[in-house]
Amino acid sequence: MFQVRFHGRGGQGVVTAAEILSVAAFDEGRHAQAFPSFGSERTGAPVVSYCRIDDREIRTREPVMAPDAVIVQDVTLINQVDLFSGLSPVGFILINTSRSFEELGLADLYSRFAPARLATCPATDIALEHVGRPLPNAALLGAFAALSAQVSLKSVEKAIRDHFAGPVGERNARAASAAFDVITRFTQEVARAGTN
């Protein structure tokens, strides 16, 4: 089972992101489960959602305690929420930012993981470019597909188009594809650096 935890703020589409990821996995014939964590917080408050992917039926309903990946939609949460709590030592981290882990003050964290498992992606910029609105969730899903290889870009794009009707879906799918390319290049570089 592969478990993903999304961090963002109320109103940023965190729940939608988990849902789309689960649909992408479902489309690949896998079992998937997406669910939110509801609090009394409102727009702007830190919120989380979860997605589980497995090849078997997923029966558990407990919250995700030890995620295999953490996706951070809003980088301003870094000093405010325990974002990486319970994350597997071989887990993935994907942060929506144009900066590096070092610039974010996360050098320590970075040093504890394999380089190919941690990535930052300027998803908001990509969304602004392709979608015209600062909603990074579709782009992050594309980036996640590239980073984790848990789902294919094709499935992610399809799930996005299913979720957002018409041209909005198309634009979001393009954002996902662009982010996928960014992270693919990144992982290739890491791989090259690793072999050198």
């Binding site: 109320g10 109103g11 609090g39 009394s40 917080e41 409102r42 727009t43 702007g44 408050a45």
Partner: protein, 344 residues
Amino acid sequence: MTKRPIHFYQVGSFAVGNRLLSDGDRTVQSDAARTNSIDSGHRACQGCGEALGARYALDAAMRATRNRVVAVNATGCLEVFSTPYPETSWHIPWLHSLFGNAPAVATGVAAALRVKGRDDVRVISQAGDGGTVDIGFGTLSGMFERNDDVLFICYDNEGYMNTGVQRSAATPPAARTATTEVVGPQPGNTFGQGKDLPRIAMAHDVAYVATATVADLHDLEAKVERAMSFRGARYLHILVPCPLGWGSASNETIHVARLAKETGLFPVFEAEYGVVTSVSKIRRLTPVQEYLMLQRRFAHLFGKNPRPDIVTHLQEMANRNIERYGLLEDEVARPRHARTEVQV
């Protein structure tokens, strides 16, 4: 307006305060030692109009009563964001029971105070528009007709925002909500429905009925103060924009409320014993379009497939209010203080 305009210091009648105003002309909110009846740390959305309206109203009531206010709160956003265990934002005695019974609970509080001879302590019951015009309507009407000594405040954000923006009987026509989607030939909420609760309250002949918005603090505070000068049932209806439900920018909460009044869509007035005694005149008459365009819930009226017919319909509603209440300055003034001699 209940309050005479302050003549004149730069922003005398409009801004929250001013370094040069006399104490009597200062708003409660300008006082560094105001109660903050609802305090920081509440979990309302950014730019929440209801959090603001509640503090405005209750702080004013606290001043008017020399800090002797007990509040009853219906279920809803205000209740949920202010009192999730283990924290409460309130600094006043506060009781939450149910969604539809805040007026009746307040009746009980008032009865208990009366039986204990505590006529110095005053009761405020508050709810959103759902708890007022819909599920709480029966108990509210009962509280009105018994003339219980309660000021009921409706924080009207025109929908069920707590549950995810569904339609209430206070949702304006054409507005998108989760239960009045923008599909079909008449997108959004239906025309010709909804309750005008201030007028219904007036029909109960209660001592005092007023409307206000979070955009005019002086007016709002004056109305709370005026309301607290009466005994018996009173009603204050405050328009509180909801950035989430209206799709307005969080920094435009006050601006949007102001335009609601300046367009005439939300008439601001007060009435005593069933008779309108004053209205807040429109200062800068604004076409409804300007108001509507700030809110995504009306976005379907503009853009690629605009609906000027619906905008016109809404403009007609505003015009009707302007005519009904005489909201324009140059209109013949209605008789002021034309109040009956009935005393409580």
